[in-house]
Symmetry: C2
Subunit: 695 residues, 2 copies
Amino acid sequence: MADVWDREKVTSPGGEERSPLQQKLQRPKTRDCTTACWSFVKRQLSRVGDDWYFLFILGVLMALISFAMDFTVVKLFRAHRWLYEKLDGNGLLQYMAWIVYAVALTTFATGFSQCVSPQSGGSGIPELKTILTGVLLEEYLTMKTMVAKMVGLTCSLAAGSTIFLGKVGPFVHISSMIATYLGGIRTTVTRDYENKSKRYEMLVAAAAVGVASCFGAPISGVLFSVEVTSSHFAVRNYWRGFFAATCGAFMFRLLSVFNNEQETIIALFKTKFKVDFPFDLPETFIFIILGVICGILSCVYLFCQRRLVGYVRRNPFVQRFTATEKAVYSGVVTLLLASITFPAGLGQFMASRLTMKELISSLFDHRPWGALSLNGSLDLHSRVDPDNLWVDWCHPTFTFYGTLLFFLFMKFWMLILATTLPMPAGYFMPVLIYGAVIGRIVGELMAFIFPNGIKSEGVLNPIIPGGYALAGAAAFSGAVTHTLSTALLVFELTGQIAHFLPVLLAVLVANAIAQKFQPSFYDGTIIVKKLPYLPRIRSTATGSYSVTVGQFMNTHLQCLAQDLSSTQLLQVLTSTSDPVYPVVESTESMVLVGSVQRSELINFLQNEAEQIKDNEKLQAKDEDMMKLEGRWRIDPVTFQLSPSTSLHQAHKLFELLVLQHTFVISAGRVVGYVTRAELKKVTEELANGRVPDTE
Amino acid sequence: MADVWDREKVTSPGGEERSPLQQKLQRPKTRDCTTACWSFVKRQLSRVGDDWYFLFILGVLMALISFAMDFTVVKLFRAHRWLYEKLDGNGLLQYMAWIVYAVALTTFATGFSQCVSPQSGGSGIPELKTILTGVLLEEYLTMKTMVAKMVGLTCSLAAGSTIFLGKVGPFVHISSMIATYLGGIRTTVTRDYENKSKRYEMLVAAAAVGVASCFGAPISGVLFSVEVTSSHFAVRNYWRGFFAATCGAFMFRLLSVFNNEQETIIALFKTKFKVDFPFDLPETFIFIILGVICGILSCVYLFCQRRLVGYVRRNPFVQRFTATEKAVYSGVVTLLLASITFPAGLGQFMASRLTMKELISSLFDHRPWGALSLNGSLDLHSRVDPDNLWVDWCHPTFTFYGTLLFFLFMKFWMLILATTLPMPAGYFMPVLIYGAVIGRIVGELMAFIFPNGIKSEGVLNPIIPGGYALAGAAAFSGAVTHTLSTALLVFELTGQIAHFLPVLLAVLVANAIAQKFQPSFYDGTIIVKKLPYLPRIRSTATGSYSVTVGQFMNTHLQCLAQDLSSTQLLQVLTSTSDPVYPVVESTESMVLVGSVQRSELINFLQNEAEQIKDNEKLQAKDEDMMKLEGRWRIDPVTFQLSPSTSLHQAHKLFELLVLQHTFVISAGRVVGYVTRAELKKVTEELANGRVPDTE
């Protein structure tokens, strides 16, 4: 039998080697065959690379979370709507039901998330963007933060269109937290050392999954996350992102089919635009004008938003208030917002009964409201009619133009106010809806001016106002976030791509204006929050191409010679606070040998002190004779710049290789160092038009 | 008056300073106002940045070229079809007309392009990919090559589906040539020095424009060009690409409206798929299986294609033949291809009367051919019916299953043969059509098995075979080119995005298989043509993360000391052939001072020799005393690696900063250098499973 085993071992290609002990065991053949098959499958599966399983799991997990959250939010919202409608007739009770619901949710969301983890507040994209440039933000990717974010976000979403906030940003954050957690599990399973670049790749993919599982839009999810989080991008990461995002989006849509919400997988906000003749050529100009309007409004919005958030962070009174009573602050703000949106009050002029999803569906409607409102009766029903959501926009005396304009006016400052709330919430969905309202107004005006459509070669084709809403949504949200992929996002959301050229034009125009005059929403947050992010070199900074490292490097260098004594070392450590010190052969030659971490040195000195204490009695050694050579772990220097390296090259290097500091070498001697701080300083100086002097 | 001028000068904000001479001139006020306005406009325009005008012009130019080429091709083709149909009844004359047309065109295309510029042959994407990694390919981006490529491509396209080649690749090439030319004009106009990184940015944008102006598909144009040409990508380039591609695509579609081909801007191959219920859930599995089929077939195709092209390049007989008589070779191959596609012969079984565009339109048809062929009469008409292109696929006895399979079988080797033709032609469109045929077969089989559709919750929804054709086209072309953006491309081509999840799944599966087993079409060409391209490190090369520069750097270093004599220098130059030499302080210290080009040294020696000749009579100076210090231009070293830099970091650095060589420094001494050759060698060794030894 052993013979047979041996023969088998020889013939089976790639079979695993068996220990002699195993060979002795008389196992039945079928079982052996199963084992062989299993090991073959296992080998094949492991050849695929664990990355892909990891990405698959990430995608599916995020889809499950997204679906579960939506499910909970819908249940909560339905309960509220049911209560609100039951109380019909009693204004005061209705008002109470309306505000208590929202205030309770936001207060809890703020209180819980701030208690568990203060890092869970806000969108999360600015912080992720900072992390992806190589900065470590403490506590930002922990499980605790994830729990806080998930619970808080569910409450924020359940408060619905009252506080008018979305879920994209937090989902990107949650996704990156799950990716980090899964990465931790993977390293313990495969016993692989944690790889920095692999971790980076996974975070990029996670951002894509986050967007994709929100909207079920994989392609634009990948592109949006790339545009928002990265300045440079490896095409191989794009692949990973696509795979994970497709898994996430597919699963997310699949779940809604299983839940009997839909019959099959279709787009989230399916539209029925005419595809034979989606728009006429002259309309392209109107689309471009719409782009200009969205661009200008986005600049105003970004400016005001940054100012208000900055004010809230700086004002001593508000600061003291929010420092201790964040939940109360949220409650007060929500009370104001909810009172304004109360449907029997001002809310009736801004369609406040509709949820965020219903708002989008109503605005993307392919039917012109002008024609609809002429035919139908315009009484506001006590219940929202899912098939005629537009009715909520048509106030009998105010008309829908009035409500749309009132919505724009009110939501402008209400949204800015809502962005100051310190709870987990996304800011993308609101700007998408805001843009759709802008587009809808333009579209309805066009339909009003040309009731039969624009005449082209004798054929009259009616205007589709929904197309304008589509373009407005893409243009405004694109301008606020400085992204182009919103154009693609609206197509994936609606399942129709017939308008792709006009929408793309509007997005380009709006983006050009916004990028010219204002930093993006996320960059603005980075500025206000003073996150350690390396800004990009503006192409308008014309002098930037001639700036070299020699002009901005830090020359206040404290080198450690290899033959340094402990006393000298102590002196250096107490007089400076650099995190890294260069180690040179000698202070005369200044030839770089490597670098050493400050923490390493401190450890070394502490050990030294203890040792000396122990040895004191045994022998009285002259301390200065104890040369430190070879005592600390010297990190090899992997990159060296020279004073003639250009700023652009150095900037690219820091950004792409996620460096923290490099030394500058000239003719073999260390002459300075460059860290992110120096780069940031020179980049900001250039942006302000100052070119550093040539020394 | 001078007073007024002065006051005006003070008050007008940002007004240009005028010379006293100008102030003296008594100009009329209105004219002055116009000048001021004009200078204001000019300043505003110049503030936008000349990049954007440049990109706009590039987009519009490419659209014009694309349209003009399509126009010419259609005219040529119509003339041919008219002649062919006129000769109906006379088989021999028809045959002659059929083959002479194709043979004449390809022979001329080959002859002309090879005469004018041999670099114009083939697709051009592999060469562009190589150029974008920083390698200079001579003659590749000249005007001469452009003319050759344009004329040759027009003829190739006019030969139509007989030789079955497309235009994407050459358009990318033409676009990059125009960008280079425009860049040259710009540098002369703005008197700006030619910037390397700016040139790179423009080439990337040009590639996007090339694809976009072919298909009128801006978004996928950008993504496809990124995936095909780059391994890393700056998001700011993405913006440029988008802008230029949108201009190109918009102009391209606009021209066809002006030419009365269409009433308004719609997609190139508009489809009419049902959007309410595009596909049922169980169909997703079939889409994935389709992806698997496409993936496997693409591997076979890529393998055979690479082998045949390699064979044609290596075989001494074919080589001798093609070296001298390229045009004859094209003629002979085309004769064979045209004879097979003759519509009265074998061509009737493979719908060879249809052009490339008609083939796509017929395959993407939303109606199931099975149902159509039962209703309609199946006689082949003498003319192609534009509304019922599917009739050409339905042979009365062979059925359309037969023709589709026959098409697959025949075109497989015919296409591979056609790729060996040394004339300007693209290889993307054919694989797109090939994939559509694969998808159509699967779709029609599904429609045959489930004639009433798959039952889902009591509702029967018919199968749409066109959706499968869409998925097949995207999956096969994506697998062959290793891109995912083909998924988006088919949506932009058809103007419908309802199938986005199944198509994306099919593309992902097909890509996973193809990327696992074969290099992409373009990478294969790079391998066969032996272009100096730096391959990427495969993620399966598990040992790659622990490889450091010290293990693969070149230590055969010939340093030049600063105090080198001419005789020694001559010795070094004659004994080695390195393009760059490191300059060190002295051969003892080996401290790097800079580098010097070989050409610089040769120039120096020549000048030296002349000078000596002149001075010989005046004074007999000891040659060895003439130290060379400070005589040649020493380039500063901008980057230095150390032996402990990892392979991944070094690879990234070379790829991203477009480096050609770097020196390796250890403890202040030059110990070796790394060029693309070393990196290429170690990457290839790792791909073959060999890890370099640790020294």
